[in-house]
C-alpha cells in the first residue's frame, strides 16, 4: 500500500516528465525507469542492498550520520516493492499522457492557468482512469513481489514478511497454510483483474 502511494507521488510527475519534457539524458532516464521491468527482482534487491546496505554507497553515510539502517526493515520492504512496481505505473501513465489532448492544456493556459493549475486541474483529471489503472497494476505487482524483497528486506515475520514470502516458508513447514494463503492471493488477483479489464477494453491504458 505504502509502495503504491509512493509510486503515485513519484511516478505520476515522473511520467509527465517522460511524456512531455525534452532534454538531454531523457532517453537514459526512461531506460533507468523501465530497468526494473527487465531486471530479475533478485538482482534489483542486490542492487538496492549495494546502495542502501550498511556498507553500501549511500547506506554507510545514512548509518554513520543518522544511525539509520534500511535493509531488513519494513521501510526496506516498501523501497524494494516501489523499485520493482513503480515502472508499471510510470509506463501506463506516460502512455496516457502522450495520447492525451494537448489542446485542453493550451486552452487552460490561455484562460490564465499556471502550469501547476493545468497539471492538477486538467492533466491529472483527464489521465485519472489511466492513473487508477496504473496504480492497481502497481499495487498488484508490489503485492506479488518476492525476489527484491527477500534479498533486500529479508523475512522477519510481522516485520518484513510479505504474503508471497509467507507462502514460500509456509510451504516448507505447513503446506495447508500455504494453500490457504495462496488462495487468498489468487482471490485478490482475480478481483483486481476483473476491475481492470473494463478499463483495458475501453482503451484507458495505452501500452
Amino acid at each position: 500500500m505504502a509502495a503504491t502511494a509512493i509510486s503515485l507521488m513519484v511516478g505520476v510527475p515522473l511520467a509527465w516528465v517522460l511524456a512531455r519534457a525534452d532534454f538531454r539524458g531523457l532517453r537514459l532516464l526512461r531506460a533507468l525507469v523501465t530497468l526494473p521491468l527487465v531486471l530479475p527482482p533478485v538482482v534489483g534487491g542486490v542492487a538496492l542492498l549495494l546502495v542502501f546496505g550498511r556498507n553500501g554507497l549511500l547506506g554507510q553515510y545514512l548509518d554513520q550520520w543518522f544511525g539509520v539502517t534500511i535493509p531488513f526493515s519494513p521501510a526496506a520492504v516498501v523501497m524494494a516493492e516501489t523499485f520493482v512496481a513503480m515502472p508499471f505505473l510510470v509506463v501506463t501513465v506516460e502512455g496516457a499522457l502522450r495520447s492525451a489532448d494537448r489542446g485542453l492544456e493550451e486552452a487552460a493556459v490561455t484562460l490564465g492557468a499556471s502550469r501547476m493549475m493545468v497539471f492538477r486541474q486538467i492533466t491529472v483529471p483527464l489521465a485519472a482512469p489511466s492513473i487508477g489503472a496504473g496504480a492497481v497494476l502497481c499495487w498488484a505487482r508490489a503485492m506479488g513481489e518476492f525476489g527484491a524483497t527477500i534479498t533486500f528486506a529479508g523475512s522477519f515475520p510481522g516485520r518484513t514478511q510479505t504474503m508471497p514470502i509467507a507462502v514460500y516458508y509456509a510451504l516448507e513447514t505447513d503446506p495447508d497454510a500455504a494453500i490457504l494463503l495462496g488462495l487468498v492471493l489468487l482471490l485478490v488477483s482475480v478481483v483486481v483483474l476483473i476491475t481492470l479489464r473494463d478499463r483495458w477494453l475501453r482503451g484507458g491504458i495505452a501500452p
Binding site: D101, G103, L104, E106, A107, A108, V109, T110, L111, G112, A113, S114, R115, M117, Q121, I122, P125, L126
Partner: protein, 362 residues
C-alpha cells in the same frame, strides 16, 4: 509613431514553424472586429497562436495596449497564462470533466478568485449568453451551437483585453451556423477590445467583421474594408472568394493588355504599368452576335465550357481571351439556347471594369 504607443493590438512579427514562415504587420484598434481570411495553411491559426503566446515569434514584436507581449530582439516574452487574451478554439476545447458553470468559472479561478466568486462571475456570463439553464450540464451533453456559446462565455469570463476566435462557426452545421452567427455578431459588438476572427468563409467575414486581412502563404496579401476587398481583390484567391473575375495585365494608356491573352479598353483609369482588372460576373453581357452599339468597346468571343444553376441565375464558365465567369438569368439561357460548347460574344462596359494598381505592397 511606435506601435507600442497605440491602444489595441500591434503586430509586426515573423513566426517560424518548421519550413513555414509567417510574416505579418497589422494593427487592430479597440472595438475593431478584424477577420483574417485565407486558404488552409496560409498561417491564420499560427498568427492567433503567436498572439495568444502559444507559439513564440521568431522575429519582430507583438504588443497589446502599449505592453510588449513578445519581442524577439529583446527576448521579452509574456507567458500565455499572463496575457489578457481570450481564445475561442475551433474545436472549442471545453474541459470534459467540468460542468459548463465550472468551465466558465475556470478563468476567474485561474486569476485567483475564490470558488464562489468565480462561480458568481460565471453565472453572470452564462446569463448574458442565455446559457443559465445549461450551467450544470457536461460539455459532452451540449449541441454544437451551445458548446460554441459556452466556449465564448469561458473566454469572455476572464475579462480579456483582446478576443481571438479561430473558425468559430466551422464546426457547426448550416442551420446552427446562421443562428450562432447573428448572435456572435451581437456579442462581438459588445466587446470593448479588439477582436480577431479567423475564417475561410468570406460570407462569415463580411457579416461579422469591420475589416478584412487576407493571408496567403504566410503573407498579408490584402487588407481593407469588406467593400474595398470585394471591389478590388488583390489576388486570384480573394477574387474567387468574393466571386469576381480578376485579370493581371499591363496598362498602356486606355489599353490594358492582359497576361492570359486579350485586352480591355478602359479610358480614364490613370494607372500605368502592371495593373489588375476586376470584373463582376453580372456585368458581362452574353450574345449570339457582337452587339452593334459603338459605345461598347470591349467585345470578345468565347466558348461556353460549363453551366451551373445558382438559385436565381446561371453561371457560365467561358473560355476565351480572356476567360470569364458570367452570370445570366435562366430566361436568357433559354432565349439564346445556350449550351456547353457554344460560341458566344461577350461584352462589357468600360465603367464595369475596375482597374487598379499593382498587387498591394508586401
Amino acid at each position: 509613431m511606435t506601435p507600442s504607443e497605440s491602444p489595441g493590438l500591434a503586430v509586426d512579427a515573423e513566426v517560424t514553424r518548421g519550413p513555414f514562415t509567417l510574416r505579418v504587420a497589422m494593427t487592430a484598434a479597440p472595438g475593431d472586429v478584424l477577420a483574417i481570411l485565407g486558404p488552409n495553411g496560409a498561417g491564420k491559426s499560427t498568427l492567433l497562436r503567436a498572439i495568444a503566446g502559444l507559439t513564440p515569434v521568431s522575429g519582430g514584436h507583438l504588443s497589446l495596449d502599449g505592453v510588449t507581449l513578445d519581442d524577439a530582439r529583446t527576448g521579452t516574452f509574456v507567458e500565455a497564462a499572463h496575457r489578457p487574451v481570450g481564445f475561442v478554439f475551433q474545436d472549442y476545447r471545453l474541459f470534459p470533466q467540468l460542468t459548463v458553470l465550472d468551465n466558465v468559472a475556470f478563468s476567474p479561478r485561474a486569476h485567483g478568485r475564490t470558488r464562489s466568486q468565480a462561480r458568481a462571475t460565471a453565472e453572470v456570463w452564462l446569463a448574458r449568453l442565455g446559457l443559465t439553464e445549461l450551467a450544470h450540464r457536461r460539455p459532452a451533453d451540449l449541441s454544437g451551437g451551445q458548446a460554441q456559446r459556452v466556449a465564448l462565455a469561458r473566454a469572455l469570463a476572464g475579462d480579456p483585453a483582446l478576443l481571438l476566435l479561430d473558425e468559430p462557426l466551422a464546426a457547426l452545421d448550416a442551420r446552427a451556423r446562421l443562428d450562432v452567427q447573428s448572435e456572435l455578431k451581437r456579442h462581438l459588438a459588445d466587446f470593448a477590445g479588439p477582436c480577431l476572427l479567423v475564417t475561410h468563409d468570406p460570407l462569415e467575414a463580411l457579416v461579422l467583421a469591420d475589416r478584412l486581412l487576407v493571408l496567403e502563404h504566410g503573407k498579408v496579401v490584402q487588407e481593407g474594408t469588406p467593400a474595398h476587398v470585394a471591389r478590388r481583390p488583390a489576388t486570384e484567391y480573394v477574387a474567387k472568394l468574393v466571386g469576381v473575375n480578376l485579370y493581371a495585365g499591363t496598362a498602356e494608356g486606355a489599353q490594358v493588355a492582359l497576361e492570359g491573352g486579350g485586352s480591355f479598353i478602359v479610358p480614364g483609369h490613370r494607372e500605368r504599368g502592371e495593373v489588375l482588372v476586376a470584373l463582376r460576373p453580372s456585368a458581362v453581357v452574353v450574345g449570339r452576335t457582337p452587339p452593334d452599339r459603338s459605345s461598347v468597346r470591349n467585345i470578345w468571343p468565347a466558348t461556353i465550357i460549363g453551366l451551373t444553376l445558382l438559385t436565381d441565375r446561371v453561371r457560365l464558365d467561358l473560355q476565351g481571351e480572356p476567360s470569364a465567369l458570367v452570370d445570366v438569368s435562366p430566361a436568357a439561357v433559354a432565349e439564346l439556347g445556350l449550351c456547353a460548347g457554344d460560341r458566344v460574344f461577350l461584352s462589357t462596359k468600360a465603367t464595369d471594369l475596375e482597374v487598379y494598381g499593382p498587387r498591394s505592397p508586401r
